[in-house]
Amino acid sequence: MTATRTRTAEQDLPDDRRTTYREAMREALRDALRTDERVFLMGEDVGRYGGCFGVSLGLLEEFGPERIRDAPLSESAFVGAGIGAALAGMRPIVEIMTVNFSLLALDQILNNAATLLHMSGGQLSVPIVIRMTTGAGRQLAAQHSHSLEGWYAHIPGLRVVAPATLTDARYMLAPALADPDPVLIFEHGGLYNLSAGLPVDAGPVDIDHAAVRRPGTDVSLITYGGSLPKALAAADDLATSGISAEVVDLRTLRPLDDATMGESVARTHRAVVIDEGWRTGSLAAEISARLTEQHFYDLDAPVERVCSAEVPVPYARRLEEAALPQVGAVVAAVRRTVGEPVPTGVDVPERHPPSGRSG
């Protein structure tokens, strides 16, 4: 496996066109619908409403109600129908409003989409793409804010991707649709308004490999999705005090790109994993375990994890902020790994998960 060394495209390439993550995703959908008549978009309020986050606004007018298909609030049925349509030769893109709602379709995703190829002895592949919003930060409380992509990354048979940049939002959909197996795309709700330049012909992007978004020499910040901007901000902060942090954007959460993570850690000898999922049994835990298994002798310090607090995401702003990984906590974790004192006043989460009820 060769690691991709894409620097942040937005920084390196000419600022061809300024747009948002939301519009980049919409353009990806439009492109897919134009180029392949088997593609259709199905989900709650994707048509007339324009998508609950406005991603599919205008697509109904362009492609009509057959291909921009408003579904009843029946997550299990319309996700399962997407799987069935994929079995019968279509290339459905199913949108689920949030990852919390996807639990109503978890049976279809796990017991059918992820399983049919194997259970049928290779006869039935399921080329479906399922998109959903994930993550917190918008004061939407505990039933609209969780980051459960790590659960899905647990499941053999699925590919799980998390576009964190405009380029990935624009160009990950095409390779996801080309994959003969089910692909889940997690769009962090906090990214939709992200505005940047989008190169016109950057894609299709590689969905097999992680990307180094910022090179560095002292520590590897390994992250994905909505936590990427936080990791980059932490790297900026650390640079002012002479600590060079490399930022690795996983992009694909399953299968994990061990090579890119490993090469980074072999250079920096330290790793901090930033993951908005809960700490216990998290994707961050898996990455930490892999680094320990594969790079024990490269590591100069224990792998640090900055995750969400073990609590349903609360509504109140101060509480919500306290529950999520923040730049300050990333900086503090890095300082611990490099053996520098953590300045007082920084909100430092406990290094080990608390035991008992709160853990």
């Binding site: 009843p72 049925a77 019968a88 017991n111 190829l117 259970m119 002895g121 006869q123």
Partner: protein, 341 residues
Amino acid sequence: MNATRTPRTARNTSLSNRQATAHRLALLESMLRVRRFEERCVELYSAARIRGFMHLYIGEEAVAVGVNEALTEDDAVVSTYREHGHALARGVPAEAIMAEMFGRATGCSHGRGGSMHLFDARRRFYGGNAIVGGGLPLAAGIALADRMTGRNRVTCCFFGDGAFAEGEFHESANLAALWGLPLLLVCENNLYAMGTALARHQAQTDLALRAAGYGMVSWAVDGMDVVAVEEAARKAAEGVRAGTGPHFLEMRTYRFRAHSMYDPDRYRDRSEIEHWKERDPVEGLARRLRETKELTDKTRTALENRLAAEIDRAVETAEQAPEEPVEDLLKYVTTPEASRP
């Protein structure tokens, strides 16, 4: 695939007597194949040569065989974990099914599925689904693909009365009716959701009535009478093909055996089972054919011998078939690079 080669459009009544007799004998053969195949499975299971959960269809054969008569090779079938009968009626060879039960490489799911997960993509048999109701959304999606691409095909989904309590049934029924999908919903009401009697799991036990509430054409059928099942299924499938949306058939039937090989069957009265056995769909048809002199003892014996030989052969080939190599454990988790587009 169908029991006879009679034209699909022709009604039984319009067939010549000879053709009609041949057709009825073929229905009998098809049902007997399922019956004898499963009886052999019981022996093999008792001898620990087949493992896993195994759910027998004995008593319900008229449903699979009768419904299959209404389907063409182009149609699709989505089934449940009690699907030996559906698979055999669909034309999946007994050898491939038996090999699957033995967990062999030649099995119809290459040993990954077992009794509950028989698949045959070539025959558009989309498998045994062991999550109650789990096949319904899939079937709606297959039908949706046909609708979107303008193919006039029927997707037939089998499920039990237990699935009527699952959200998947109600979500899928609504979706299918709302979108007018070419779906044939066949509810095998055998009166028990595993061990829970219909009246103990449904507030309203008239399932056809409730399905009608979704705006689907629906009616109840004597599921112990293969001729009645075939007639109803043909009528429903014609309606689906005519573009009038999903149709629902409540097949009133009964399983003579326990829910699975693990089930001690403590929840049913012997008298109830005996009562239903008097309505045995296989022997019932055989009796009618004897009365009309369409079936002689000689023909019956020849039929039994033919089926026994077919099943013997299935068992022999399954026993001799190679096992899946352990090196291939991860083979079908994702599509191999080589076969990717």
